[in-house]
């Protein structure tokens, strides 16, 4: 990246030294008047009673603190959920929007890089206050002020130009699919990645990093689809990327554009349903936030996460395996599909169908700790990497505990979780291997 940052953030500080050009340069043009105007506009037109109730109801009891892996890892009240609200929206509302550019700078760091929007704290709040929502409002204000960390802002720009998060051009997308198809055909004659098939039972969508960095996942998905005789398709034009960093920067207008593109891509082909790859935040975007922003109560087409789809293949005996994966595994429950969608039991069905030795991570299911990468935090890039990994100390403890019980492989059915856990595993010398469900299934698949 040309307008790059140097990663010089001090330990455990997060906001002591900001070295992100998106934030630093972003605040340069701000005036108190502009800040107040944008804040009033967002709070008056976009939040309603929900924000006020959340902020006013909090009695600072501190019960949310132990729900937050930042607090648990860093042991500093500033990182408690209530503390983050106090440093951002609570002060903004108290001062009726009359805050300084310096305040916005600090608030941007807190909202974008010190909260994964994982919603775990909401389960521990006696009032059920959703701090992730409050942080999202803070991000929305920062977006409208143009104060967004450089790396995630760039990703949002990619979405706006290409409809995917990795600047993958239209030709590169199809070329990558053809490359993966050819690779697969070397092992499986006549295997296809069918493009633009009308009336397919299944429209398979992925996130931008798959064609860019993890093309083997598309290869594996194609082999699995072909092995089970799926009537499936992928689109040749934009709409293939289900991801959504605009949801996390606060660019909701672009989020709407992305989700419309994705849904219409599948519906124009008259697919019966969308199956999406192993990504958590994208599921939140298609199943909760993006669809509702466009006016749908639920997605306009059935859309299921890969956990759900793979589990269905095993439950319906559509898939044959040579033998179960026998290296001891543990399972990381991604926040957005576990706490957000309740797929944790299906994930366990799938682990048990595919693996012979499953060791639970504790706590688990909806109580699992975030990987520290979610909510767009990993997408804020190198300037915040050290702080992010430090906030994953509690996760590292969890992993090491599972390792002590014998687990050697961590199954993480989410791309961001993979990125976050990879950094944690490396930083804390955890020494475990990471896999997607797709990796495991591909490995044990009984192919003719």
């Amino acid at each position: 990246m040309s307008e790059s940052n140097s990663a010089t953030e001090s330990k455990n500080s997060g906001i002591k030294k900001i070295d992100d050009q998106g934030i630093l340069k972003g605040v340069e043009g701000l005036t108190p008047e502009k800040i107040e105007s944008v804040i009033q506009q967002v709070i008056t037109n976009e939040t309603g009673a929900r924000l006020k109730v959340y902020v006013d109801t909090c009695v600072h009891c501190g019960l949310c603190s132990k729900g937050c892996h930042y607090y648990l890892s860093l042991n500093d009240p500033k990182f408690s959920p209530a503390g983050k609200v106090k440093q951002t929206l609570a002060e903004i509302m108290q001062k009726k929007g009359k805050v300084s550019p310096e305040f916005i700078k600090q608030a941007a760091v807190i909202a974008y890089t010190q909260c994964n929007l994982c919603k775990r704290c909401a389960m521990y709040c006696p009032f059920g206050l959703d701090v992730a929502y409050v942080m999202s409002v803070m991000r929305r204000i920062c977006h409208k002020l143009g104060v967004v960390p450089l790396y995630i802002q760039d990703t949002a720009h990619s979405h706006s130009v290409t409809m995917n998060q990795m600047w993958v051009k239209d030709d590169e997308w199809v070329d990558t699919l053809m490359w993966q198809e050819e690779e697969a055909q070397e092992a499986f004659e006549n295997l296809r990645i069918p493009l633009d098939i009308e009336g397919a039972d299944l429209f398979y969508s992925v996130i931008g990093p798959e064609p860019k960095f993890r093309a083997q996942l598309i290869f594996q998905a194609a082999v699995i689809m072909n092995a089970v005789g799926e009537n499936w398709t992928m689109p040749s034009m934009p709409g293939w990327d289900n991801s959504d960093m605009c949801m996390f920067t606060g660019d909701y207008e672009m989020m709407e554009r992305l989700k419309r593109c994705h849904f219409e891509s599948a519906l124009n082909l008259r697919a019966k349903r969308i199956v999406m790859g192993e990504c958590g935040h994208a599921f939140r975007s298609v199943y909760d936030v993006g669809n509702r922003a466009l006016g749908w109560r639920m997605p306009p087409i059935e859309i299921i996460h890969a956990i759900d789809y793979f589990n269905e293949l095993f439950e319906q005996n559509r898939i044959k395996i040579k033998k179960k994966f026998d290296t001891p595994v543990t399972l990381h429950d991604p926040c957005n599909v576990s706490r957000g969608r309740g797929l944790h039991d299906k994930a366990r069905n799938l682990v048990n169908a595919t693996c012979s030795n499953f060791i639970e991570m504790v706590p688990n299911r909806e109580h699992n700790y975030c990987c520290s990468a979610g909510g767009g935090v990993i997408n804020c890039g190198p300037p915040f990497k050290n702080a992010r990994v430090e906030s994953g100390k509690e996760k590292a403890r969890q992993l090491l505990e599972a390792k002590e019980k014998g687990a050697k492989v961590v199954i993480a059915p989410c791309h961001n979780c993979h990125g976050g856990l990879e950094d944690i595993i490396h930083h804390y010398n955890v020494g475990m291997e990471l896999k997607f469900f797709g990796d495991i299934i591909y490995e044990i698949l009984d192919l003719p």
Binding site: K25, K144, K169, D170, S236, L267, G295
Partner: protein, 426 residues
């Protein structure tokens, strides 16, 4: 518009081809499709040398394979004029081949095949990381570092696309905010740059282009021939031209609700939770659009009056008949159906495609899927005949018969039936 005056409209069924013939001849067959007149079927296959190529079959004849084989073939399509085109690649060079005649110019990649109504072909192309559009083998003179959303004009003489007018590198977020994107028409960029541009479209006479743009994160406009409307909105969807004038209409968002605007001013003053896919009636006098009058309920509005009936899941493919009737496809509680002039057909199906009106507007036929088989639904009732595959139905010019192109028991048949009755219904 397909010109079908000269087609065979005599009632009766013809077998155009048999899948078993193809299976016997080819080790690899992709999806078989029909020509618009139903006289021919075609698919991508592998020839004896295991090269990708294309084969076609007509009634009473063996499958006939293109002479040329390729490393790769994709996007096989019949144009509205009945010609068969595909993207073909040899030694890494991509071209368009139409009826086995290959274009002269080759590219590192081509995609997004677009036809105008008479079958002129435009494609997007990339060579040495420079991008342009091509019409009938003639590329734009100017190339760009990025190109998206290419479309061809109604007269087939022009193409337009969103282009990166100022090269911007990944991570250059402040340069990006300054505006690095524009619209090019036949390779000539508008003289103004924007933060983003989406979905340019031509006027009916092909002489003007309008697009959605944003100049900042908070200011969205419609731009016409490079000039923005005076008023910004918090968001906009793609515009379209009035067929009778150079006016432009577009959905615009203000205060969290959607409205229809015309030439920059609010035109439909009723706020909607959503509004998109606006269309003009053929005479240009009426406008319909997909709207959500309340959160989670979808319907069509015509001249700013929503139908009484609303649907929970989805609404698509609004279409006017020549005489001004209005139909669409809906999805409600997981099932699909057809709605015409504010009333839903009783028949509910697993999937439905775009409604097709007869020229006089009296009859409507729809390709539908139910219980795993395709059918034709006619005027609200599903015909009993089942197909493993069908194309959209086409009415004869006089509206008395329908051409059905479908596959039954592995036979690809062209069937012309009278609409006057004698059907069994599913």
């Amino acid at each position: 518009m397909i010109n079908c005056d000269s087609w065979d409209w005599d009632k009766g069924k013809k077998e155009v081809g048999k899948f078993s013939d193809w299976r016997e001849k080819f080790s690899y067959i992709e999806d078989i499709s029909f020509s618009p007149d139903g006289e021919k079927i075609a698919a991508i296959v592998k020839n004896e040398d295991m090269e990708f190529t294309v084969s076609t079959q007509s009634e009473g004849a063996e499958p006939e394979t293109w002479e040329t084989g390729y490393d790769k073939v994709w996007n096989l399509r019949f144009g509205p004029d009945g010609r068969l085109s595909a993207f073909v690649s040899d030694t890494g060079e991509w071209k368009v081949s139409t009826d086995d005649n290959t274009w002269e110019n080759g590219y590192d990649f081509i995609w997004n095949m677009r036809f105008n109504k008479s079958g002129v072909i435009a494609v997007s192309a990339q060579k040495e990381l420079s991008y342009c559009a091509i019409i009938n083998d003639v590329p734009w003179e100017n190339e760009f570092s990025k190109l998206t959303d290419m479309v061809i004009s109604p007269d087939g003489q022009s193409s337009t696309a969103v282009i990166e007018s100022i090269p911007v590198l990944e991570g250059e977020i402040f340069k990006f905010r300054g505006g690095c994107y524009s619209v090019a028409v036949n390779g000539d960029a508008w003289d103004r740059n924007f933060m983003n541009v989406w979905k340019p479209s031509f006027s009916d006479d092909s002489s003007h282009v309008a697009a959605s743009v944003r100049t900042s994160y908070n200011d969205y406009y419609i731009a016409v021939d490079g000039k923005t409307w005076d008023t910004p909105f918090s968001s906009v969807w793609e515009p379209c031209f009035d067929p009778n004038s150079q006016s432009v209409i577009a959905p615009v968002k203000r205060g969290g609700k959607w409205f229809l605007a015309k030439d920059g001013a609010i035109f439909w003053d009723r706020p909607y939770f959503q509004l998109w896919h606006q269309i003009y009636s053929p005479d240009g006098k009426r406008i319909a659009a997909i709207v959500a009058p309340e959160f989670g309920r979808w319907t069509l509005a015509i001249d700013n009056t929503p139908w009484q009936i609303t649907f929970s899941d989805y609404l698509t493919d609004p279409i006017f008949s020549h005489d001004g009737r209005l139909a669409c496809i809906f999805k409600d509680r997981g099932r699909w159906g057809v709605a015409v002039d504010g009333k839903a057909w009783d028949s509910i199906v697993d999937m439905a495609w775009i409604p097709v009106f007869s020229n006089d507007g009296d009859n409507i036929a729809v390709k539908v899927k139910k219980d795993g088989f395709y059918h034709i639904a006619l005027n609200g009732k599903i015909l009993d005949t089942k197909y493993e595959y069908i194309e959209n139905p086409i009415f004869s010019p006089d509206g008395s018969t329908i051409l059905i192109r479908g596959c039954q028991g592995g036979s690809y048949n062209r069937d012309v039936i009278s609409i006057k009755g004698g059907f069994s219904y599913a």
